[in-house]
């Protein structure tokens, strides 16, 4: 099943998407992950870790908004 696209009322700000990614990592029980991000995806993980105490390596690709 193909996931649905984001709705018109979905918050796509960096903070909202970063919180969403942190919730995803928490749900997947990922304490240490490498993040490869592109474009605005890099902006949500550029300056702060996904979760307090979580160590991560960020590889950024073609950042546009960070």
């Amino acid at each position: 099943m193909v996931p649905q696209a984001a709705g018109a009322d979905q918050n796509l700000s960096f903070d909202a998407r970063r919180s969403m990614l942190a919730a995803f990592c928490q749900a997947m029980r990922l304490d240490k992950v490498d993040v490869v991000a592109n474009d605005s995806g890099g902006g949500i993980v550029r300056f702060s870790p996904l979760a307090p105490g979580a160590s991560e390596v960020v590889a950024l690709n073609r950042l546009r908004y960070a």
């Binding site: 996931p3 919730a23 995803f24 997947m28 990922l30 992950v33 993040v35 991000a37 592109n38 474009d39």
Partner: protein
């Protein structure tokens, strides 16, 4: 469609140019004789005629595979050259009446001139309703006396072989419930986890090639 029409149009054009070239040269020679001068343009007329002869000779060599499209190309190349040269002789700033293009020609030449747009129409119709429908590329293949393999454009492999349509077996959408709703993701490989985050207006397939190239590590890409 058999190349009968194209051959006929081509032959009419050949006849047209031979006659007009001869008449032009004949007029120039007559004027020179009247004036008692030497026809200095005679060599030039010979050159022009030699050019036309060479072109038609080359066209005749491939006549067995000429069609309407070839006739159209011949018509455009030859007639346009002559018309442009005729227009170029006009002093600048003067409007050109359509009949002035053919002014000075008798009925046989006017009839031949009239056949030219007819042939062009046939050729254009063949381009529009032809069987191959390959356009200019087919035309280039057709009128080329060289083997078609020389001009065959290198075909790149279909992109379906390059893209990750042959996805890894683990590339199936999974969903994890969060406070923001169910987040779809796909998982591939094994080992330390890496998350691939795409930008806005993209989706997880942005990373497909990279995921396949980076086999050996566990990858989670959100969608």
């Amino acid at each position: 469609m058999p190349p009968v029409f194209g051959t006929a149009v081509l032959m009419i054009n050949i006849l047209f140019f031979l006659l007009t070239t001869w008449k032009q040269r004949h007029r120039a020679g007559k004027r020179c004789r009247k004036a008692g001068a030497r026809d200095r343009q005679r060599r030039r007329h010979h050159e022009v005629r030699a050019q036309y002869s060479g072109f038609f000779l080359a066209a005749a060599l491939v006549l067995h595979r000429l069609s309407l499209r070839s006739a159209l190309a011949t018509d455009i190349v030859c007639c346009s050259r002559r018309r442009v040269r005729r227009l170029a002789r006009r002093p600048s700033g003067q409007a050109l009446h359509s009949m002035e293009v053919v002014a000075g020609y008798g009925p046989p030449y006017l009839a031949l001139y009239a056949s030219t747009p007819f042939g062009s129409g046939l050729g254009g119709g063949s381009l529009r309703f032809g069987q191959s429908g390959q356009g200019v590329r087919a035309l280039a293949h057709e009128i080329s006396p060289l083997p078609a393999q020389r001009f065959r454009i290198r075909q790149t492999a279909p992109r379906t072989h390059q893209m990750l349509t042959k996805q890894a077996p683990t590339h199936e959408y999974k969903y994890v419930p969060t406070d923001f709703g169910n987040i779809a993701y796909r998982e591939a490989g094994s080992g330390p986890a890496a998350i691939f985050v795409h930008g806005v207006l993209l989706n997880g397939h942005f990373w497909d090639r990279l995921i396949e190239a980076a086999r050996g590590c566990q990858a989670l890409h959100r969608d």
